[in-house]
Amino acid sequence: MTVTWATHEADYFDRSEPLVAGVVVDDHEIAPREGWSLVVRAGRVLTLVDVGGNQSGDCLIYDAADRDVRYSVQATLAAQRNAYLVDGAVLRDQEGHPLMTIVGNEVDRQDTIGGACSKESNTLRYGHHTLFHHACRENFLLEGARHGLGPRDLVSNINWFMNVPVEPDGTLGIVDGMSGPGRRVALRAERDVLVVLSNCPQVNNPCNDFNPTPLRVVVTDPAVAA
């Protein structure tokens, strides 16, 4: 079987532009398979661009001032009483308080129940021959370590541009994505937050269309004109 580890450039790539206007305070392209992290100040908006289409961006969010306060999928889903993230969704910490809000979204729905891939879970899902495939949990640990975070700080995450339907009998899993080149999601920080991203390296399921591609991160400050 031929494995495509990553595509760094292609004529169909669309790097788009920020979804919310304002001066650009940060602009970074996350190469395929890499991790990235940044602090987004309260009020600023992070636009994540799916440059190559159907590229999962695994994401964890922490209160920048107290990393014990972090994204909670369960507090988020219980509050909105829905399993999927759409425009307007409030991303909450474990106490139910807002960390970020989705203020723009160009995909039908975003996933937060599929979790992150890991070398170890790859052995369960695809067989022990995949143990040495790079994985999001590796990126989370490496990026997290730069901020003093470790395995105790990893929790269920968000997967931007990934598609995880739940069928009536409870069957759930990752299927072909609903995104495309240049599609975006925009997140407004409700306080200073640390955002840890993994450009998903998975090549054993459709979460990256079996071909990891770049993600672009642009942070704008709507309070300051571009």
Binding site: A78, N82, A83, G96, G115, L124, R125, G150, V155, S156
Partner: protein
Amino acid sequence: MTDDLGAGRRSDTATLAQARDDARGRADTAVEAMPYLPPATSPHVPADVDPASLVWAETVAGPGYTHMTVARGTRIRLEDLTGDACAHVVLHSALNPAERLNVADTQKIPWQAYLGTGHPLLSGDGRVLATVVADAAGGHHDAFCGVTTLAGNVARYGAGAAHTATAAGRELLLLAAAKQGLTARDVPPSVSFFKGVRVAADGALDWTGGGGAGATVDLVAEMPLTILIANAVHPLDPAEAYRAGPLRVHAWAAAASSPADPWWGATPERTRAYLNTDQYLLARGIR
């Protein structure tokens, strides 16, 4: 001596001798929510369990919490006595608390969002912490919504602190964790037994209620395990009043899962999860 007899005072307690007699006179009181020691003396031993095999017997108040570290092969039965309990559970490996319940993997690896008989409760390290080996609660469980929060319960019930009658599940889990030397970092998403949620086609989370009085669920510890349990209202419980009835726990020495158990080979993903777990313990000399 004072004439100010407190409402709960039963005898004179002005001297140390009196106070000691008073304290000791309280010891034989039996109430609904309490541990039973030694466990074999539990007044509620399940009919299918040899009392001599019991390692833990307790009735947990609603709201209330408990926690225990148990050996591999321990079978833990939770019972919803009145139909009003909700057991929010977090699991940690007793060998390494950084290895703990991963709800996303618990749903994703088996390709199944709903907990039922044979469902593995997975860590984030590709191993099985525990298996749901019996479900007499009709599948009324939930892995989506987690626990209630202090702020949420203050808004909804007027109070949510651990000492109140409407305690938030998270407040109780944090206390259970603290007793095990763990902190807020160590309390990840949890699973809830005895109150169910289903996902509608549009993603809506629909409440399905509970399994009724006497509903039980059995877990088997697949490795040395620390279990944290908060018995507290479910976040989507539609009842106007806070709902949390007593939760009974019995645990006894049994056996970890083996290839003879149907869930071991139910799917290839689960088989590999058990193989990873067994090899990990084999290397450490744990049988």
